[in-house]
């Protein structure tokens, strides 16, 4: 009896160990990569997305068009959750979906591991997207790791009622003319505004404004070979000083940090009059400023164009059905489909042809004084001409910079010079 019990325990332990070993040691299934045959076998494709890609109805449509394909949608609530999932499973070498949605911001770190993603470059999709959109997802040796979905071209949102009160022109054409030009012009208009505004600031946050400016610099923090130049780059220091001069000395900032509770609450209290806004920010403003009247959007962005956010669909090489996955990703990101996603969830398309679509150009937004937002954002998307280089250390450096700005603008624990010193130390510790 005893000896039998013992054998059972031992063999159970052995089984556990064996299980653990096989689980660790199992490799990916054999497959022919993205160039294999499609349309013959019955396959189930899993697609990982987050927030709202607007694909639910498109999946049903695709399943009807391709009876051999069943789509399993794995939707994460937030992009952070999706990012943790992606990096963990990339590291583990298994468990990813056949198609993984990624955010533009993750590209610098993912491009380093481009061998984990299928090369999606294909003559059939050449010229489908705006140049900067494709360029951001292409490695140095020409591998395209993702098909663009949506984009975040930025315009300037403003409070027409507060502009009027301060004696500034308030209709969107005049505002666009007034703000057109460099960032200095934008700040000058701000100085004029705050003198007459009775305590209302010009923009919400130094950090957000800085982000708009730095995204127009080609090599801000790193040379294209990855050498860190953030602390010696005169452009970076110059932008840093300009923003802080405007925010603190000239009093243009409402001294808020984006996404914090105070920032969210400030939309209800007339804290600031302008805000840099990508397409997806319109919904955020509308939500936070519920009941506030006077928001409008001008077809202008200081210093040229600017993009903030947007996503891609990638195909991890660990997947078993890469050819079918590529076919689906290509279909989903075609202009016709992306327009449907735009209609469904308002994701602004990054495809050249989609920007010319009647549906898109005809769209207006009641909350922003019936502004033709589709047309404005399409103009803003084509105005983008700089492709900022974001290397592997872009994010930690940018985080350190945002903290440096927050210390001076929001916390007021440092002056610009001492906060810059701390930034230099933080970058040195990477």
């Amino acid at each position: 009896m005893h000896s039998r019990a013992r054998t059972t325990t031992l063999s159970a332990a052995a089984a556990c160990l064996a299980l653990a070993l096989t689980a660790c040691g199992s490799g990916g299934p054999e497959n022919a990569g993205v160039d294999g045959e499609t349309g013959t076998e019955d396959v189930t494709l899993s697609v990982g997305t987050f927030n709202e890609f607007g694909y639910e109805e498109l999946f049903t449509e695709y399943e009807e068009l391709n009876p051999n394909v069943t789509i399993e949608h794995k939707k994460a609530a937030t992009s952070n959750e999706a990012r943790d999932n992606l990096t963990t499973r990339l590291a583990a070498g298994s468990g990813l979906s056949d198609i993984e949605g990624i955010e533009m911001d993750w590209l610098p770190e993912l491009l380093e591991y481009s061998d984990q993603f299928a090369d999606l470059s294909d003559p059939a999709v050449e010229g489908r997207w705006l140049d900067w959109k494709t360029a951001a997802a292409t490695t140095e040796d020409g591998q395209l790791i993702g098909y663009g979905t949506d984009a975040g071209p930025q315009a300037v949102c403003y409070r027409a009622d507060l502009f009027e009160k301060a004696g500034l022109p308030s209709d969107r054409e005049s505002v666009a003319t007034m703000l057109d030009g460099s960032w200095q012009d934008y700040f000058e208009a701000g100085k004029e505004f705050v003198v007459a505004s009775d305590g209302v600031a010009w923009f919400d946050s130094a950090g957000a404004t800085y982000q708009g400016m730095i995204n127009q610099v080609e090599n801000a923090y790193e040379d294209s070979d990855g050498t860190v130049i953030a602390t010696e780059n005169a452009d970076v220091k110059d932008i840093y000083e300009q923003v802080l001069q405007a925010s603190v000395e000239d009093g243009l900032s409402a001294h808020l940090t984006q996404w914090e509770d105070d920032w969210v609450a400030s939309f209800q209290s007339d804290a600031f009059a302008t805000k840099l806004c990508p397409g997806w920010m319109l919904g955020v403003i509308e939500g936070n400023a519920e009941g506030v009247e006077g928001w409008d959007i001008a077809d202008v962005f200081p210093g040229g164009g600017g993009n903030w956010g947007g996503s891609y669909l990638t195909i991890p090489t660990q997947g078993a059905h890469q050819a079918e996955a590529k076919k689906l990703a290509e279909w989903l990101t075609a202009p016709e489909q992306q327009i449907k996603a735009f209609e469904s969830k308002g994701t602004f398309p990054s495809q050249v042809d989609a920007l010319k679509s009647e549906t898109l150009l005809g769209q207006s937004n009641a909350f922003f004084n019936d502004a033709p937002t589709g047309e404005i954002l399409a103009n803003r998307a084509t105005a983008i001409d700089v492709r900022p280089f974001k290397g592997p250390k872009y994010f930690p450096i940018n985080d350190a910079m945002q903290q440096a700005l927050t210390r001076v603008d929001v916390d007021k624990t440092d002056d610009p010079a001492s906060s810059w010193e701390k930034f230099v130390t933080a970058v040195g510790a990477l």
Partner: protein, 329 residues
């Protein structure tokens, strides 16, 4: 029985010897088995725990040590062997020492008031109350709320400009507290969240211990003329000593690993623009998942482990002293 039988066996000498040898061998084996049974079985019975611990506790611990000796990327995996370079680097970082300071500050600000409050609440609950179960379950409610949810609620209260606390302060004509820029204020705010969650839980543990205090001790104290307060300090608290030690040790381990409340204290989750409230676990997170440097993150994890071991040893020594003091009485 069998042995005596065999002695009187009528078999010839040689055969008998051979038979006996065999039988003795068999006997010896079964004896051995039962000896093993006595010696080994207890270990086998507790082995599931230790096997599980080896897989989920010891292995990660040792593997982390292995990782900390290499340059190691979150996605790229193992790199070169670098010996103690990661440790040297981390120990030279002001952010590391800042995180150590923050961790201890938040730990002290949460543990001390927590234990004191929990004992006080337990003492009140120990009194004769109407609807006793209701009150007792009531103090446990905050514990059921997820830490991140607690974080969201308290963030709203502690917001610098629009928060309830600062609105109240400015309403009273006082200066608002800079919850997100002053280090001590931020530690207090985070400690408040921790205390909100854990005080009730600890109060119930203290309550259970209080009910185990023999009632005749109180009667004797009453006869001696001790008031309620005197009884509390001279009878209840000394009798609770082992429980207090238990609560302090668990609070230490939990307190030094504090993460959730501090991480959700702002949206960036890095512990403030000047790292005002970055704790050690948040620093591990920043190194491992922000900078993807698992080597350095593992080095900090091991340093945190060593700190906890040192504190636990100190706890142990203090405990032993208190225990012997208790024994001398």
């Amino acid at each position: 029985m069998a042995v005596t039988d065999r002695v009187q066996s009528p078999l010839p000498d040689t055969k008998q010897r051979a038979f006996r040898d065999k039988s003795v061998k068999r006997l010896a084996f079964s004896q051995k088995v039962s000896k093993w049974d006595v010696k080994l079985s207890p270990y086998l019975y507790i082995s599931p725990f230790f096997l599980l611990f080896a897989v989920t506790g010891l292995f990660p611990l040792l593997y982390t040590a292995w990782v900390s000796l290499h340059s190691w990327n979150l996605i790229g995996g193992q790199g070169e062997f670098t010996a103690l370079e990661n440790y040297e680097f981390v120990l030279a970082q002001p952010f590391f020492w800042n995180a150590v300071g923050n961790t201890f500050s938040i730990f002290l600000l949460s543990s001390i008031p927590q234990v004191v409050l929990a004992i006080a609440i337990a003492a009140v609950l120990d009194a004769n109350l109407r609807a006793r179960t209701f009150w007792r379950m009531g103090v446990l409610v905050p514990f059921v709320v997820a830490p991140v949810a607690v974080g969201l609620i308290f963030n709203n209260l502690f917001a610098d400009q629009a928060g309830l606390f600062n609105e109240l302060l400015t309403g009273l004509g006082l200066d608002p507290v800079r919850w997100h820029s002053d280090p001590l204020a931020s530690h207090t705010a985070i400690a408040t969240m921790v205390n909100f969650r854990w005080t009730g839980y600890n109060a119930l543990i203290f309550l259970a211990a209080m009910q185990a205090v023999p009632r005749d001790v109180y009667e004797a104290a009453t006869i001696d003329g001790a008031g309620r307060l005197r009884q509390f300090f001279s009878v209840t608290v000394p009798m609770l000593r082992p429980t207090i030690i238990f609560v302090v040790i668990t609070a230490t381990i939990g307190g030094l690993q504090i993460f959730d409340e501090a991480r959700v204290f702002d949206q960036a989750g890095l512990g403030g623009a000047d790292r005002q409230w970055q704790t050690l676990t948040m620093y591990i997170w920043e190194l491992g998942w922000g900078q993807r440097n698992f080597g350095r993150a593992s080095a900090v994890a091991w340093l945190l482990f060593l700190i906890i071991v040192i504190i636990a040893l100190a706890n142990f020594l203090i405990t032993r002293r208190i225990a012997t003091q208790g024994g001398r009485r």
